[in-house]
């Protein structure tokens, strides 16, 4: 043996290139992982690294590390690495992938991370059919925090927070993530595999590779759930733990593919190309072209008109104010328009503040309007006291029309110092 050269032996299972040669991000013992003997993470890491090697995607791959025992996955994978908040890997992965569509984004999560605190994020990422890959390592317990109950803990299984065993009455039933997600339309591939024996490990490796390959092919959301041993927290030997996966866990979590559209799913369309930078102002409608000439920019004279428009929602109250402001802008004035806003509901009332002035406008709030446009009676009653004695009302409320001369305008008197000279009148006028 000692004289054997590389030429005489073919390396069948070497160290994947997607792993670092030396784990330099680790503070000590840089030749080994931080995982316990018999832990499933090491096996799943190797499967993933091999898949990355085989698919030739090391430069394109971005791994999203979770919170939990695999929080330090970035110690080992020689790929782009992003470590996210507890349970949020699918949200992080979503945006990484959409921001860099050419990248291969792999979220790696445990069962506390994915099935409890991150249940919303995984559900919606799957439902959107994000073109990402999720590796979900299910060991039925919170391991890193010392063995608390997880959504996937088996009925009767003891944990530090279920000292008498998980009971359906108190903690509910084990959550079947793969089955749950397989009720959604969008996912392309969902399979549960196990690490219970070598045959299962081989099947798991196949599934992990397929889940990554689906993304390379642009097919959409793929998830592999891996039933994985945790000898330390389970208080078993590595061999006992492996048996437990196969003989106990599997009864609650049956293996198999719950969704497989790998063969017939179409590749997702590439995002449309971005427009040229110089076109963006035009797209936003802020380019100079189409600018409206200010028709009265030369006009002089003091203007400070404060208007309040009020009425029922739907009467065009806000629009009327907007038209006024727009007109003022085109007349070369400073303008402001401020709506009172409320929830979208029936019988809501609505009003807005409009100011038109020659000088820069300090407060856009119109407390004492020169003109009140009241489109209904409640508005007239609510705001008429705010109009100074010399101010004007402009109302459509019937009662007021009855009360005052049957005209739409019940009182109109200008404050000539504030208004454009063309508007000023000496006494009450009617429209």
């Amino acid at each position: 043996m000692s004289n054997a050269t590389e030429a005489e032996y073919e390396v069948a299972h070497g160290r994947p290139k997607a792993f670092y040669e030396n784990f330099e991000r680790k503070d000590e013992l840089q030749h080994q992982t931080h995982y316990c003997p018999g832990c499933g993470h090491g096996i799943v890491h190797k499967m993933l690294a091999q898949a990355i090697d085989e698919l030739g995607i090391q430069n394109r791959t971005i791994l999203i590390s979770p919170v939990g025992c695999s929080v330090f996955a970035y110690y080992y994978f020689d790929v782009g690495n992003v470590q996210g908040a507890h349970g949020r890997a699918p949200a992080v992965a979503t945006a990484v992938k959409r921001s860099q569509p050419q990248s291969i984004v792999i979220g790696y999560q445990g069962d506390g991370d994915l099935a409890a605190i991150g249940s919303a994020e995984i559900l919606h990422a799957a439902n959107r059919g994000e073109n990402i890959t999720i590796i979900f390592v299910n060991n039925a317990i919170y391991s890193m925090t010392g063995g608390q109950v997880a959504p996937t803990t088996l009925l009767g299984q003891r944990s530090t927070t279920t000292p008498n065993g998980r009971s359906a009455a108190n903690e509910g039933y084990p959550l079947h993530v793969s089955e749950l997600l397989a009720t959604l339309e969008a996912p392309v591939y969902i399979e549960r595999v196990g690490l219970g024996d070598n045959r299962q490990v081989a099947q798991a490796q196949h599934a992990v590779r397929r889940a990554v390959e689906n993304q390379v092919r642009g097919l959409g959301f793929s998830l592999v759930e891996v039933l994985s041993p945790c000898p330390t927290i389970w208080k078993m030997s590595p061999v006992e733990a492996q048996h437990w996966v196969r003989e106990v866990m599997e009864k609650t979590f049956p293996l198999g593919a719950f969704r497989d559209r790998t063969k017939d799913a179409p590749a997702k369309a590439a995002p449309p190309a971005a427009p040229a930078l110089e076109d963006i102002s035009r797209i936003l409608g802020v380019a100079d072209e189409g600018a409206v000439e200010e028709i009265d920019a030369e006009a002089k004279g003091a203007v400070d008109l404060q208007v309040r428009v009020a009425g029922f929602g739907g009467q065009g109250v806000l629009l009327l104010g907007e038209v006024l402001a727009e007109a003022g802008l085109h007349a070369g004035l400073q303008v402001s328009w401020l709506p009172s806003y409320g929830p979208e509901m029936r019988s809501g009332t609505s009003n807005c503040h409009v100011r038109l002035a020659r000088e820069p406008i300090d407060s856009p709030l119109v407390v004492h309007p020169d003109v009140l446009v009241a489109m209904n009676e409640p508005s007239l009653h609510k705001f008429c006291a705010s109009v100074p004695r010399v101010g004007g009302f402009f109302t459509t409320a019937r009662q007021c029309r009855r009360n005052v001369s049957g005209k739409t305008c019940i009182s109109w008197r200008a404050r000539s110092r504030m208004w454009p000279t063309s508007w000023a009148t000496d006494g009450p006028a009617t429209w």
Partner: protein, 364 residues
């Protein structure tokens, strides 16, 4: 350039896109929803990503992902939504990721109401998330500033690799005023630290975990050093007619607009009144306060909160001048009349100038 009538909430989005923002992840909430809606309309047209997330928690973590991938990215929300985002804001500050968050504030606590309030000051300016971090906070008081300060926010976020919040109230978000934008759009370069799915960026890592106490301490000290530089360089405030002022009104956002109207009227009455408006809430413009304190008799803080910025004003003045306080909450706006009345009362008082006084805080 073209002056256009536009809502503050729309101006934010257009300014963001012109500044190179190509990702928006958000969740609807009044009174910030127009931002999300405008982002939905425009971002796909410019080759960007818009996604309405399942929650504010997911949205801010999407910002984490997009920023990690090297894209200029933003979100918008209001009080309760910002509370939910605090997790991700802390992570982004810890991982030194830039992003812009628009907070169009509403009434609180709890569901409160949807009227404008300024009760988010503490959670935004003091950092509502866990750990030793700060966010940079800009406070626009007009639609033009919604545009200008959003552009500045993206630059500051990149320069300091830190989340920046544009803190505006419901009024500034909802109102329309003329606004002008810069002619040309910019396209920022991919940052060197980004994880972009390329050979060059393969060795990059985005993370906020430092397991060893010494390493975490060094990291926190480095963040502190960054914030110190920001304090030296980025603090901004607008002084409005403060020359010769004896009474200085202090407010931000819509309140500052009201204060300018009050000061104009008070000046017309012959009262010596000016306005100091913090434009950056963090870093707080402490120096401007201290300089003004040398010649001003009394400061009057007006807030649509129960006195959140008031604490920073007192810290900045450190007892050098008395500070009066006028507060409205619940969605009510301090009226022109009540501020003016307080100003008239203070102007009548003959307090000696240039001598330290015991701080007196009045509630109106």
């Amino acid at each position: 350039m073209r002056r256009q009538l536009m809502k503050g909430n729309e101006a934010i989005v257009k300014s963001a896109i012109l500044s190179g923002c190509r990702g928006f992840y958000g969740y609807p909430i009044t009174p910030a929803s127009e931002i999300t809606e405008a982002a939905a309309q425009y971002l796909p047209q410019v080759g960007g990503v818009f996604l309405q997330a399942e929650s504010e928690v997911a949205a801010i973590n999407m910002l984490y992902g997009a920023a990690a991938a090297g894209v200029r990215v933003m979100t918008a929300s209001s009080g309760p939504g910002i509370s939910l985002m605090q997790e991700g804001i802390s992570y982004m500050a810890g991982a030194e990721l830039p992003c812009v968050i628009a907070d169009i504030t509403r009434g609180g606590p709890g569901l409160g109401n949807i009227a404008a309030e300024q009760g988010d000051y503490h959670q935004v300016v003091k950092g509502g998330g866990h750990g030793n971090y700060r966010t940079l906070v800009l406070a626009p008081h007009s639609v033009q500033e919604m545009a200008d300060l959003t552009a500045l926010a993206f630059d500051l976020a990149d320069r300091y690799r830190n989340p920046v919040v544009v803190l505006a109230d419901g009024f500034i978000g909802q109102m329309m005023e003329p606004v002008e934008f810069p002619q040309t759009a910019t396209e920022p370069r991919l940052p060197k630290w980004a994880v972009a799915g390329t050979e060059e960026s393969r060795g990059n890592l985005i993370s906020s975990i430092y397991l060893e106490p010494d390493k975490l301490e060094a990291h926190v000290r480095q963040l502190e050093a960054k914030y110190y530089i920001a304090q030296q360089r980025e603090a901004r405030a607008e002084e409005w007619r403060t020359e010769g002022a004896e009474v200085v009104l202090v407010g931000y956002g819509i309140v500052a607009r009201i204060l300018k109207a009050v000061a104009a009227e008070a000046l017309a009455e012959g009262l010596k009144v000016g306005v100091l408006r913090p434009v950056t809430l963090y870093p707080f413009p402490t120096l401007q306060f201290q300089k003004l304190a040398e010649r001003v008799r009394v400061f009057v803080v007006v807030e649509m909160s129960n006195g959140q910025m008031l604490e920073d004003v007192r810290l900045a003045l450190n007892g050098a001048r008395p500070v009066e306080f006028l507060s409205r909450v619940g969605g009510n706006v301090p009226s022109h009349g009540e501020v003016l009345e307080l100003v008239r009362k203070l102007a009548r008082q003959t307090l000696p100038a240039r001598q330290p006084e015991e701080e007196c805080v009045g509630h109106v």
